[in-house]
């Protein structure tokens, strides 16, 4: 089932996951999206510190057109999967076609 971002673009959850993995990989030294799992921990596995996690906010806004709350990223997003779930939960289900 597709959902819609704030710019009106439709996304499958798998597409969101792929986009998130590419964003995370681009922010990780030596990182590749293929090596990332949903269970990959941003701090323990990728070596990000608490504040570095906020680096995802801008590319997510640019590519997936969603604005993430800083404190959710800081305190609740521990893994790649958390980020995918958070972003997916922010997207809207498509409304009825007029």
């Amino acid at each position: 089932m597709k959902r819609v971002d704030d710019a009106g673009h439709e996304w499958e959850e798998a597409e969101v996951e792929a986009a998130i993995k590419e964003i995370v990989a681009a922010l990780t030294p030596g990182g590749t999206s293929g090596a990332l799992k949903r269970a990959t921990r941003l701090e323990a596995d990728l070596g990000w510190d608490k504040w570095y996690k906020l680096k995802v906010v801008k590319p997510v806004k640019k590519r997936l057109h969603e604005t993430l709350e800083d404190n959710v990223v800081l305190y609740e997003v521990k893994t790649v999967g958390d980020l995918v779930n958070y972003l997916w939960s922010r997207m809207d289900e498509p409304g009825p076609v007029p």
Binding site: P29, G47, D49, W51, D70, N71, Y75
Partner: protein
Amino acid sequence: MVVVLLVAAAPQAQAQRRWGVEIGHSYSSAKALHQPATFTLNVADSVTTDIQGGVLVGGPIGSSASLEFGLRALAGSARSKAESEYGAIVRGYAALGEWVGALSGEYEADGGFDVQKGVLGAEVTPLGEMRWCLGVRCARSRLQWRPWLGVGVGNSFRGARELAAPEGRTFVRVYLRGEVSWVPREGVELNLEATGWYLARGSEGRTNTTASMAVDLWKGVSMTTKVQVGCPPPRFVYARSLSVGLGFVLRRDGEAAALGSADSR
């Protein structure tokens, strides 16, 4: 000779979804919280104790700011009153574009509470930069660091002027703090926090460094070496210590971390 062990506590915040608790060497930085909080009992010549620890409770305020409350202590009968210190802090953070800013109010006291200071502080750090290992561990060097630039304005509200030296009754201090972490291989972590202060009254400088190396042995049980050298506030009296031993701790997200020590000050 010396020794006996210690330590460490295991904070858990699973029940509180967004607020968490961390225990480590001090609340001063993330890497200081990665260093062990230790209680050391020395039974060599006479029974002495050494306590080095801090606790930090923090969580979100609204959608983009967060608040922390912390306590710390360098204390115990192995330290003189001048070498001992206690502190408590309230600190708020907010992301400001590519920067993070913090405002804080801190209480500082020496071991005998002969000198007590209140400090209002502001500090900033960049979010991070991949190519400089700033905030993120580099793939090859396994190194990660973070700088903080801050300024504190304070008042020494208890203690003789000479005890409050080199800062005096009212003071301004500018500081640069660096946190460095190195993971040479899986299960081994070195953490260092170094701070340099410029004390406006008298145009003097002071530094303090704490470092630890933890080798993970089994599910968070680690062999840890810990060093502290320098002149920390409020008295800025030179002190140094070296601790080696076993320890254990759990962080709020359930990840095991190294902690602990036995003393050879």
